[in-house]
Symmetry: none
Subunit: 212 residues, 2 copies
C-alpha cells in the first residue's frame, strides 16, 4: 500500500542550503537590525530590560539576548515584546531599511519610459527600491488593453484621468472614467485598463509600494 522504499522520496543529494542561494532575493536570513531596533526603542522609552520584560511578559534575559542578536526571536515573541512599547509588527518592520532619499526633480525628457508596444508608461525615477510610491504618467491609445493584471504583492493604487476616456475593471466592478475622474483600489484584486473610445487616453497613477 505504501511506498516507503520508493526510489528517492526527498533526496537532497546536494545540501541545497542557502550557501549558493545567498545571492538570491533578499539575502542571508540574518536579521541584525532586530536587536538594534529593540534596544533603540527601549532606550527611547527610558525602560530597563527588566521593566520592559515585566510589561510584556518576557524575561529580561531574553530581551538581553535579542538585543545582542544572539537569538532570532519567534514572530510570536517579538509581538509580545513590541506590545510593551506599544508598537505593531507592521510599524516595526516598516522603517527597517529606509534610506534618506534626496529631493529630485524630473524634466519631461528625463523620465524613464517603458513601452508595451501600445501602452506607454513614463515613470518618475528609475531605481524605486526604498521608495514608498511608484508614480507614472500612462498613455493608452484607442483600443489598447492591459489584459487582466494581478500584482503578487500587497499594494494600493489610484489615479486621475487627464484626457480621453478609459474603461477600468476591478474585481467585479467596471466603469468608464473621463477627464477629472479618479480611481483607487487594492492591487491584489484583478484589474484591467482598456481604452474603448476613439481618442487617446492619458492618466496619472500612483502605486504604493512600488510594484517593481
Amino acid at each position: 500500500m505504501d511506498n516507503r522504499s520508493s526510489a528517492g522520496d526527498e533526496a537532497p543529494a546536494e545540501p541545497l542550503n542557502i550557501s549558493s542561494d545567498s545571492a538570491t532575493a533578499s539575502g542571508t536570513s540574518e536579521t541584525p537590525f532586530v536587536g538594534e531596533r529593540i534596544r533603540e526603542l527601549r532606550h527611547r522609552q527610558g525602560l530597563s530590560q527588566r521593566e520592559l520584560g515585566r510589561r510584556c511578559g518576557v524575561t529580561n534575559g531574553m530581551i538581553s539576548l535579542i538585543e545582542q542578536n544572539k537569538t532570532s526571536p519567534s514572530v510570536a515573541l517579538l509581538k509580545k515584546v513590541l506590545s510593551g512599547f506599544p508598537m505593531s509588527l507592521a510599524d516595526f518592520f516598516a522603517g527597517v531599511d529606509e534610506g534618506e532619499s534626496p529631493p529630485v526633480f524630473f524634466a519631461a525628457h528625463q523620465l524613464k519610459v517603458m513601452d508595451n508596444g501600445t501602452i506607454r508608461f513614463r515613470q518618475l525615477g528609475d531605481h524605486l527600491k526604498g521608495r514608498a510610491m511608484q508614480i507614472m504618467n500612462e498613455t493608452y491609445p484607442p483600443g489598447s488593453d492591459t489584459g487582466e493584471t494581478m500584482l503578487t504583492h500587497e499594494a494600493e493604487e489610484g489615479g486621475f484621468v487627464i484626457r480621453g476616456r478609459i474603461e477600468i475593471t476591478v474585481g467585479h466592478q467596471c466603469t468608464v472614467l473621463g477627464p477629472g475622474d479618479g480611481y483607487y483600489f487594492d492591487s491584489r484584486l484583478p484589474h484591467r485598463f482598456r481604452n474603448i473610445g476613439d481618442e487617446t487616453c492619458e492618466l496619472v497613477s500612483a502605486c504604493s509600494p512600488p510594484s517593481f
Copy 2:
C-alpha cells in the same frame, strides 16, 4: 564583592505571566495570520510546499507547520521563506490587519474639494484612514503660493505637472516645472509650491502615507 545571596534578586512572587497582561497593548501574542498569508502567497505563485522550500532553503515540513500555525517561525526563518517569493519582511507585515478595501471609482463631481482661497485641492476619497496614499488634483492660479510647508510625520510625495508652470522649492533646491515634468521628495523636508507665471497650473500629486 558580590551579592549572590542578596535577598530577592528577581523575585517574581507572582507569575506575572501574560494571563493578566493579555488585555494590554496589542494582544495575545498569537499570530495566526502568518500561516494564512504564507499559504496565500505560495498559492498565488503556484508553488508547492516542496518547491518553495527548495527555493528558500527551508524544509517542506517546516512550511507545512507554519501554514497550519502549529509553530511560530523565527524572524530569521520567516525572512528565508519570504526570500522565495520574493517579498520583504516589511511588505509581509505591512498589510496584516488591513480590512479588504473595496474598489472605488470617483466621478469628477464626487471628489472631495478643499479650498485654500486660491489653491484648489480635489482629493481621491474622503476618509483616508487605513489608506496607503493620498492622491490629489491640485490647481494653482497665477500668483498662488503655499508658503513654506513642513510635514511632521514621515512621508514621501511626488507628482506630475499637467498644464501651466510651477516653481517648486524643496530643501535648498528650486526649479520651475512645466507640463510632463515631475517631482518626488521626502515630505519632512521644507517645501513650497508657487505659480510665478500668468497661466493657471494644474498637477496630480500623491503622498504616502496620507498627511491627514
